[in-house]
């Protein structure tokens, strides 16, 4: 059962990821990106991270992708001429393939038995909102506050950049 759902969501994620970079229309790209984010959220649930799956759907697929769609529709883009197959595109595809091969070699070389599944016994509270919240507000309180400052800086930066007058 777990195998079936893993393969299902992995195929959906890879297919929609390919559609993100292959579709000409930016709106279709963003829609497929939302589908990819949903598929990974389902995989998070299978990895015992339900809180992260909820955050992924609410923050990523909800808020960030709406921002994307908003800008795409605001700019009213005419289709950009992507051109045919050029040397740069071939180099780009080769670089991506090379990174894939490198990661595959590294994954093969690490000493994890391939067909044993996840061995470690998980504590009962693993991945619950309570345990995540406790470690976020106690152990990682300082990074949490720094993250809030980062978001504040990003908001101010975005407002300053997008203001009408630049002078």
């Amino acid at each position: 059962m777990e195998t079936f759902f893993f393969i299902l969501f992995a195929v959906v994620a890879i297919f929609s990821g390919l559609m993100v970079i292959l579709k000409k229309n930016p709106i279709a790209s963003v829609m497929f990106l939302i589908l990819a984010l949903f598929a990974t959220a389902a995989l998070y649930v299978m990895l015992m991270a339900p809180f992260m799956a909820a955050i992924q759907i609410i923050v990523y697929a909800g808020a960030i992708m709406v921002l994307f769609l908003f800008v795409v529709m605001l700019l009213n883009l005419s289709k950009i001429q992507e051109g045919g197959v050029s040397a740069l595109k071939i180099i780009g595809a080769l670089v991506a393939g090379g990174i894939m091969v490198a990661i595959a070699v590294v994954v093969r070389s690490i000493a994890i038995p391939a067909d044993s599944g996840f061995l470690r016994e998980l504590p009962a509270e693993y991945g619950t909102v309570e345990s995540i919240g406790r470690s976020m507000f106690i152990t990682y309180l300082l990074p949490f506050e720094i993250a809030s400052f980062l978001l504040l800086a990003a908001i101010i930066g975005a407002v300053v950049l997008a203001k009408k007058k630049l002078e």
Binding site: E2, T3, A10, I14, G17, L18, V20, I21, S29, L33, T40, L43, M46, L47, A49, M52, Q56, Y60, A63, L67, F68, V71, L74, L75, L77, E82, G83, K89, G92, A93, V95, A96, M100, I103, V107, I112, A114, D115, S116, G117, F118, E121, L122, Y126, G127, I132, S135, M136, P143, A147, L150, L151, A153, A154, I155, G157, A158, L161, A162, L166
Partner: protein
């Protein structure tokens, strides 16, 4: 077939490489930004798979912070794209070469 860490790592690698290919081959700035999101998402998946493997939820906290950084990056990146469009009437990155040479 039993699903183990390796399957999740290979899936993350696939998604990451799709993102790399998108960044390197597309010319539309918004799609490049979407490809960067795809790469961040692949790394988040790897983080959560490793957290499950070691039985330690710290990886999930890291994913939370990486989502915060992604949100900040998207806000600033889209603001830059809006400014770019206002100046050039285009978001084709081939026409944006002010800082190139």
């Amino acid at each position: 077939m039993i699903i183990s860490l390796n399957h999740y790592l290979v899936l993350g690698a696939f998604l990451f490489c799709i993102g790399v290919a998108g960044v390197l081959t597309r010319k539309n700035a918004i799609i490049i930004l979407a490809s960067v999101e795809l790469m961040l998402n692949a790394v988040n998946l790897t983080f959560i798979a490793f957290a499950r493997h070691w039985g330690d939820a710290t990886g999930q906290i890291f994913v939370f912070f990486s989502m915060v950084v992604a949100a900040a990056e998207v806000a600033v990146g889209l603001a830059i794209i809006v400014v770019l469009f206002r100046h050039k009437e285009s978001i084709n990155i081939d026409e944006v070469n002010l800082l190139k040479w």
